[in-house]
Amino acid sequence: MTMPFYVAPEQMMKDRADYARKGIARGRALVACTYDDGILVCAENPSRMLRKVSEIYDRIGFAGVGKYNEFDQLRIAGVRHADLKGYSFSRDDVDARSLANQYAQILGQVFTHEMKPMEVEILVAEVGHDPTGDQLFHILYDGTVIDETGWAVLGGEADAIGERMGGAWLAGAPLGVAAAAAVGALAGPDRTIPVSDLEVAVLARGNGRRTFRRIEDEELATILAPSESDGD
């Protein structure tokens, strides 16, 4: 005898959410926070080529965790959206809030209508002209938008990392202190992450029109060095 499958909507949503969360938890986490001259994004990423953190526009950065091809597709769509908007209006009219809303729309739609939800969590950050204007939008796999203040954690073990970050982060700290807090929170007490496994970038107010800048290799080691030796 044949029985039509009935799945309660609650169950269906829960299954999809579990599926997405599992996918996201498999990857490494990422921390973003504000510091005195802008916004710092720090990810654990052994690859130099497949980036998690990147530039969207003059004052807007993007970071994603989860499935690389899915968040990279979103990243490129964001760059296109921002460049087209800046081209048809003005560079000043491109803002993180509207981009975050666009992302939320897409993620929400995919979550409810497609075969499988996107296994991603993304961050859209905008550096303001002064520290009060800094914005961090954290967007979940189901399209939920969270407007974070100070710092945000994306990816697996977000709760534990968030707890450590909440304890270490100070508003208006210099870059070195903020970077040490972020790396410390990512690593936890029993582990140190080598510099080569870190992907760090900033949106720095003092960096001219295009505020996005990667901090790599020796520069990153120098920034992290003094506070690490203090901690030891």
Binding site: E55, A77, G78, R80, D83, L84, G86
Partner: protein
């Protein structure tokens, strides 16, 4: 505006110009002929604002680019302080001559094309690639050029792979020609190019290269009515930019003012010594 998502089969890739066309934002081509020739235009015709002389010279650390500030519509001066030298990205610049409106639009699209590619792909285009991109844009503009709205740019940049400055000159068909030492474009280019040619030496230091392009624009303005000279009264000077390993840098107006004052003084001195020499030889002073 919605998020531009494309399926992998019809993704426009890192090409911003293609994206603009896909989004329906590219302007349609004009269907009537527009006369951009100098001189008064009869009823029904339009006079297009024209930008004029630009030069670029290779020097020890890279390239220096300069352009005068005048735009003309027929025999009228339509703008005294238009800018024709723009940064294309961190290590390259573009200078334009021709119909000002389409030229400035082309520069805007070109700048975005380079930045867009860099962001989408994660690495910048090579200098050669940038020059080819501009070539395609000039080529696509040919139908408008045939209707009297020609745009003839110069592209110059610092090649990070070869560690040297490079210059590219174009024609209306998109032809791209690499120049070794110097190039000029626009109505006053004949005079400007001659001055640059006579004053050019290999490995010029930066101040000498700046003086050379200023002299070239000064002489072009002296001979060509569509090229504007330095305007000490209003404080309008040519746009001069150096492009080296440190990137695109615009030379400040007060530096240019000092260089022009020095140029005037040297020209004055040259005239008076010439007169003195004639007197000393027993000739009649004028």
């Amino acid at each position: 505006m919605t998020l531009p998502l494309y399926s992998p089969q019809d993704d426009p890739g890192p090409d911003f110009a293609a994206l603009v066309r896909r989004a329906g934002l590219a302007p349609p081509l004009p269907d009537g002929a527009v006369s951009a020739l100098a001189g008064p235009v009869g009823p029904g015709g339009l006079t297009v604002t024209h930008g004029t002389t630009c030069v670029a010279v290779r020097y020890a650390d890279g390239v220096v680019m300069a352009g005068d500030r005048r735009a003309t519509s027929g025999n009228f001066i339509s703008h005294r302080s238009i800018e024709k030298v723009f940064p294309a990205d961190r290590h390259s610049g573009v200078a334009i001559a021709g119909a000002a409106g389409p030229a400035i639009e082309m520069v805007r699209l070109f700048q975005l094309q380079l930045e867009h590619y860099e962001k989408v792909e994660g690495s910048p285009i090579s200098l050669e690639g940038k020059a080819n991109q501009l070539s395609q844009m000039v080529r696509n503009h040919l139908p408008a050029a045939m209707q009297g709205m020609a745009v003839v740019p110069i592209f110059a940049g610092y090649d990070l792979q070869r560690s040297e400055g490079r210059l590219f000159q174009y024609d209306v068909t998109g032809g791209r020609y690499e120049e070794h030492d110097h190039t000029a474009t626009g109505s006053g280019s004949l005079h400007a190019a001659t001055v640059v040619k006579l004053g050019f030496r290999d490995g010029l230091p930066e101040p000498a290269a700046i003086d050379l392009v200023l002299r070239a624009l000064y002489e072009a303005a002296d001979e060509d009515s569509a090229t504007g000279g330095p305007d000490l009264l209003r404080g309008i000077f040519p746009v001069v930019a150096t492009i080296s390993a440190q990137g695109f840098r615009r030379v400040a107006d007060d530096v240019l003012r000092d260089r022009f004052v020095a140029l005037y003084e040297s020209l004055e001195l040259a005239r008076s010594t010439a007169t003195d020499a004639t007197t000393a030889e027993g000739g009649e002073p004028e």
